[in-house]
Amino acid sequence: MPYSKAPSAKVAANRLAKVVMNRAALDDAVLGMADALLAVGQQVIDDAAANAPRDPQTAQKRGVPMMADTGVLGCWAAGKKVGGGMVGKPRVTTVIESRSIPGTFRSVRRVASTPRDEAVLFVGFASPIAHFVELGTVKMLARPFLTPALSRNLPGLSETIEPAIGKRVKASR
């Protein structure tokens, strides 16, 4: 995901107001789940950032933030954005089996779907070099930092979701 220009104060305020409005329209259980997802997403970003390679000199020379500091997340619930600083939904690619020629596959690129009956969390790093660091190049070995962070933090997801939903429901009574 390339760097985007920082939004103006008015645009940022509008986005925030929209998120607040979206949250007001959701029930406590869904909001609790979204809160838990956001908390886990932040854990993933913190974990990944702690293990990502850092090169402050190059970042300073180029006038850009360090790759490890560009973690971003976004959470959608009931099809609406309910938290996180991610601007827009990311594009995803899936491999599907061809119906006409069984055994062959094709890739489909589309904007990630956020179904109305699901809470969806996206976690990523906005730096244009993040995926090269994660996956490697012809001259640089892969130095994965996000995939290990995901597998370290996702197993604890249910332990975070249950108390978060309980907290929300309790507060609304």
């Binding site: 491999v95 596959f105 890739s107």
Partner: protein, 141 residues
């Protein structure tokens, strides 16, 4: 305890796959071999498989390993064709035992198909990620 390499098994499966072999015999672990990465005009098709995550799971007989695929070719279309051939070799493949006796319970293309250019050679490539659920010990013959 003998630990087996899922990376080695994945490389062996790709080399043995007829669709991949029809495009390129160059399937490399971790990094390209010398001579694979060429400059514009003389790009060669090749695949690099790296390990993105292989967590140690205590007290289980299996491990979930995430492998990264980088499929390079002369054009984006050729890189996608190579990626899809690699994806078909792994996507929704059921239980099997590798030549090394590593048990592979299933494998799945977890993501990818993303077009890119290598930042050094500008060669077109397609990224992918494969998840494999494997045994941590050899399967007896």
């Amino acid at each position: 305890m003998t630990m087996l390499s899922p990376l080695g098994a994945a490389i062996a499966e790709l080399i043995a796959d007829s669709a991949v072999a029809a495009i390129t015999p160059r399937v490399r672990p971790i990094e390209p071999a010398a001579g694979d990465a060429k400059s514009a005009g003389s790009y060669l098709p090749f695949v690099v498989v790296s390990v993105l995550d292989a967590p140690y799971q205590a007290e289980t007989a299996t491990s979930s390993v995430t492998l990264g695929l980088r499929c390079y070719a002369a054009t984006f279309a050729a890189a996608e064709a190579l990626y899809l051939a690699c994806a078909a070799a792994f996507h929704r493949q059921g239980p099997r035992v590798a030549a090394s006796r590593l048990g592979i319970y299933n494998s799945l293309v977890a993501g990818g198909g993303v077009f890119d250019k290598d930042p050094d050679t500008f060669q077109p490539l397609v990224h992918g990620a494969v998840e494999m659920h494997v045994s941590i010990q050899p399967i007896p013959a």
